[in-house]
Symmetry: C2
Subunit: 361 residues, 2 copies
Amino acid sequence: MKKTIPNKSALNEKKGVPQPEFISDLVVKNIKQFRKIQPSSNELIDGILKGNISDLSRAITLVESTNPEHLAKANEVINACLPHANKSVRIGITGVPGVGKSTFIEAFGKHLTSLRKTVAVLAVDPSSTISHGSILGDKTRMEELVKDKNAFIRPSASGETLGGVARKTRETIILCEAAGFDTIIIETVGVGQSETAVHSMVDFFLLLKISGAGDELQGIKRGIMEMADAIVINKADGDNIKKANLAKSEFNRALHLFPAKKSGWMPTVSTCSSYTKDGIDEVWKTITNYLELTQSNAYFQEKRKEQNQYWMMETINEQLKNHFYNHPEIIDLLEKKKKAVQNNSLSPFAAAMELLSTYFK
Amino acid sequence: MKKTIPNKSALNEKKGVPQPEFISDLVVKNIKQFRKIQPSSNELIDGILKGNISDLSRAITLVESTNPEHLAKANEVINACLPHANKSVRIGITGVPGVGKSTFIEAFGKHLTSLRKTVAVLAVDPSSTISHGSILGDKTRMEELVKDKNAFIRPSASGETLGGVARKTRETIILCEAAGFDTIIIETVGVGQSETAVHSMVDFFLLLKISGAGDELQGIKRGIMEMADAIVINKADGDNIKKANLAKSEFNRALHLFPAKKSGWMPTVSTCSSYTKDGIDEVWKTITNYLELTQSNAYFQEKRKEQNQYWMMETINEQLKNHFYNHPEIIDLLEKKKKAVQNNSLSPFAAAMELLSTYFK
């Protein structure tokens, strides 16, 4: 059994009350040591800017905390890191469970570090609170990458809402960039709303697929195909190569039916194998081409500015809603109005107006 | 020049003050007549439930008014109509300008009235405030339908926000249904956010297209294809028939790449000509098939309930945002914070928190 570390709250001193003499030296020592391992904001900032991974991890823990004091400290660190961030490429990777996201990221990440890139792998998985971390929860799935000194892997933050999880990941990107990582990979499962959140925090959005009878498409959320800058068909090895190539030409045809992207980029379709590593280098070449195009036509910079504003607005709108829907009077009234609306005895608009007048009065 | 009708407010009587003797008989007569042409809520409700088109139009005008008194009256009428509504099929039709929406709706509407259906045609076009009513603004485009006793055509409401325009159209649906219309067609231009709004107020969503070099797709918003329950390729006549059939098979292939719909419905692709009327009857057959499927698997009823709740929440969220963004202190501060976020001197989350604490203090 582990030794119990005394809780900070045990130190609540009452002013003017003399210390009892029987205080344990051991406890005092432990507490002092505990305090020591909590560096100040400035120490954290210094550490992060020097690329210290322990300080980076500590700062991320602050970002993920629900303690308001920690959040205030996190904000301080993030704002100091901001001028040193933004110098990376942010890549979003989505795909339903079973397409081999982890093995792909392992192969892709190793390819990137072989090119002397430094890679941070993050995840947005709001379901992980319930399923206890399906994404990146098991670092052993990326055995090679986890041992790589130029890679940093952090499982998805947990939280009750997607907004909360997304916020934490977004701020973690800033910290990783300030710590010198030049390639940020953000993984998500393409089954909920999370890929929309990820799409609005990355420069390049990659949809991972496998070839098959078409039923592998069932699980994926509508609209994702249109968000993709590249569709990569994984597991194109052995008997699968032919099927993968067929899928490739089918997706290519389909993509041509979509309207042109604002970026001027025409989404690509390619095949790869995370096992044989065939096609992995091509994925990076595609991203390089994309960066060349969008940095020269200024779409890249414009998109990042828009994303910053989007996240400011998103946070505001989410908090406005939280405040309203957690209002004690609203909680009771909402259920009643919902029922009235369902029974067609009250119009949705009238119901909304009654709720709002209660809230604002 | 028109005679000026005296304003209602001129009649503000003060209790106990005797009428001056020099009151004009003419003015009194005018005022009485004015009051007479403004029926009470109960008169309006009675009229609507009897299918009186003038009363229906008057009630819609109240819904579209910005006068709070009118809105209160509108709410009264709508809530009384609600139990008599919901007995129709609501069809959304979208397509970029030039695909022939008006001529299609004319041909389709005439086909419906020939089947003894009663058809109300509405529109959601937030741009009409600026462009002065591009959609249905010109009723002469539907010469035949406009003369049809079993059809009712109402141009798009105007308003500053899509939310406002959508709210008005949604309440107009209720009124039309209570007036006995069994088929509601809602038209929108597939270039903004409006088709998402229309999609969430209809049972069946139809995307109108024309065959061509692919560039007709450019104007359409991403994601619309995935929302469609049917894609209809219009102008399939004369030299166009071959191209239209080619487009049909291409869209059919593409649709198979999309995930299955929650309704269990597999979207269809067909061709038609609003000119020769070929394929118009098929569109209605498709909708009948859809209704059979979704009414038997209860998706139809479930979707309507969800839509009601969606609109209640939408209205609340929109009003919360309005209240925040029109707050005098916020207006000033927002611009400053936006700039700070753009310059990367403040994180989007920190900026949002500063704005929120100003708002809630």
